[in-house]
Amino acid sequence: MSESASQNGRPAGTSASIPITGHSIGPAIGALYQLAMRQHLHGRRWIAMLLLALLPAIIALITRGTDPFASPAAMEFGLIFMLIPQGLLPLLALVYASGVMQDEQEDQTLTYLFIRPIPKWLIYLVKLAAAVTAAEILSVMSIALTYAAIFHGVHGTDGKAAQIFASCLIACAIHGLAVLAYCGIFGFMGMVTRRVLVVGILYIALFEGLFANIPFNLRIVTVIYYARLLIYRLLPFRGRLGSGVHSTAARTWNLVIRGDRHLKAYPHNWLCITMLLSTCIIAALLAAFICNNREFYVKTPVKTD
């Protein structure tokens, strides 16, 4: 350690020996999380995402208003188990997670984070956690309001309140896992490409839209596949409008249930949950590693020769 440093009261040590003491890294992490949440929950982007999250509920209200005989179960399936996981959740995750570092880099405020005593990998993980929180808040809000819009005041559902509430909770939990996985993936994408929105939308359209709906093994690399298996198994009374092989969910999602109504040939629930969680964790750790070792230019270099 340099003499000048010792004179100024720094702790003694050699290279990389300056400790990050527990009492001060905690407030820093808390402040970073709070800052990131404030960034997510204000401004035009927040309003746009809020409107997007309200869309399924608005569609439900319009449908009920225009078609008094609309089936609540069909609306539930179409909006909560088709539109939300396939359209809304990936978009929410893409918008929030892809900009974990890129937004601040573009705003040139990243410097104010990097000159603090918080390792870059931790900055990434804390900001990703805030992005996940924001996306989860909107996801839960969207699901709950859509359930309310579908079932509130519908004749014949009075005695099924607990059942509907349970379905709502299960939907929130499964979609919550999907949001986690999506956030991990899009956060990682944001770390490896500058055109993350384009790449992310292509990913959503190709993988989560196209590949997930065709009965080839390719769909095992999609998030929505595992979410659908969980939904089918945990909410059969909602996902399956018909009986046996006529299940709407199975037919729509290309799940072969002939002779295998419980999808025993497909990944088990615990594997589905593990896949969704591990996707998030692995992608987040990889991205944190990249974040720690790459440079973030906040100013375009001027050519000097």
Partner: protein, 318 residues
């Protein structure tokens, strides 16, 4: 390198660059730089694109050297966030969290630096007072002028009471009052023992802060030392002396006859010339007789080398 500072061998450098290069693809930002910055205030001078900001970003661990090693307080800075407890940076870019108030911004930075909420609030009050922003502290940053932004950026750099402070063009775009205030604050910090490296392309700003300067151009170290030392180095090189008068073209032809005149350039106005001479004493001694010996007049004589501007331009143009 033209020159280097002489110093006591016992004092260790606070900031040290060891054979550091930094490339941005095929663009070179810093070229084989070896540099020691000692405690105190040091001015980092160079034109736009000289590599000043790159140097500061390397010194604050935001960039990784392509080659060589950068140390601050004896520690390698790249990927060493712990060193950030002891350093502060006032960046060049004006960006702040635009939706925050000035007070919220400083409090947030203090908390990011590890202060608890109450301590961060107190620190924000103290620093806003120091930089003269108390009255504007509750305004949203989006409406701040350039000078107010510079003050706020300086305040955020001080939230951790840094031992080493990096200021990247802190006076750019400020009005005279803000400039005076910022200079005063930097002076006070220096008196408290903070090592300060301040970059600028405006020379007189730095001249009022310190005698110690580092001159950079094209990513290279051009010179380092006190302004006086650099002036001494200049004495080994041709001086540039300006003569203003009438019939200056014939005077230029006459000057070229003398062996101590290395070159003469006519001014664009046709009323002045710049003579280069390695022996200024002989040149000045000859001037009285020369003024009376031809069809010209010499109304004004001055050296282009009398200010730091000249030193700087002389060295970087070399």
């Amino acid at each position: 390198m033209v020159g280097s500072i002489t110093r006591s061998p016992e004092i260790k450098p606070v900031i040290a660059f060891h054979d550091v290069s930094k490339w941005y693809g095929d663009v070179i930002g810093i070229n084989k730089l070896t540099l020691d910055i000692m405690p105190g205030v040091c001015g980092l001078l160079g034109p736009n694109g000289a590599g000043k900001s790159t140097l500061l970003q390397l010194a604050t661990g935001q960039l990784c050297p392509s080659q060589g090693r950068v140390e601050v307080l004896g520690e390698t800075v790249w990927n060493n966030s712990a060193i950030n407890r002891y350093i502060g940076l006032c960046p060049e870019q004006d960006a702040l969290y635009e939706w925050m108030t000035g007070r919220e911004f400083i409090t947030c930075c203090a908390r990011l630096a590890g202060c608890r909420k109450r301590a961060a609030d107190a620190k924000a009050d103290e620093l806003l007072e120091l930089v003269g922003m108390t009255t504007h502290a509750n305004r949203v940053v989006r409406g701040y002028s350039k000078g107010m932004r510079q003050r706020t950026k300086l305040a955020q750099a001080l939230v951790n009471d840094p031992q080493v402070l990096f200021l990247d063009e802190p006076m750019t775009g400020t009005d005279p009052v803000a400039r005076r205030d910022l200079l005063e604050i930097i002076h006070r910090l220096a008196l408290k023992g903070t090592t300060i490296l301040v970059s600028s392309h405006v020379l007189y700003e730095v001249q009022t802060l310190t005698e110690n300067i580092v001159l950079m151009n094209h990513g290279r170290l051009v010179a380092q030392g006190s302004i006086r030392q650099i002036r001494d180095l200049m004495d080994q090189q041709p001086h540039r002396i300006v003569l203003v008068g009438r019939n200056i073209r014939s005077l230029a032809a006459k000057l070229l006859e003398y062996p101590d005149v290395a070159g003469v350039h006519l001014g664009p106005d046709g009323l002045s010339l710049v003579a280069q001479t390695p022996r200024p004493d002989e040149f000045y001694a000859r001037l009285p007789s020369l003024a009376l010996s031809g069809p010209w007049t010499i109304d004004e004589v001055y050296s282009e080398d009398d200010n730091l501007d000249a030193v700087f331009h002389y060295l970087v143009d070399k």
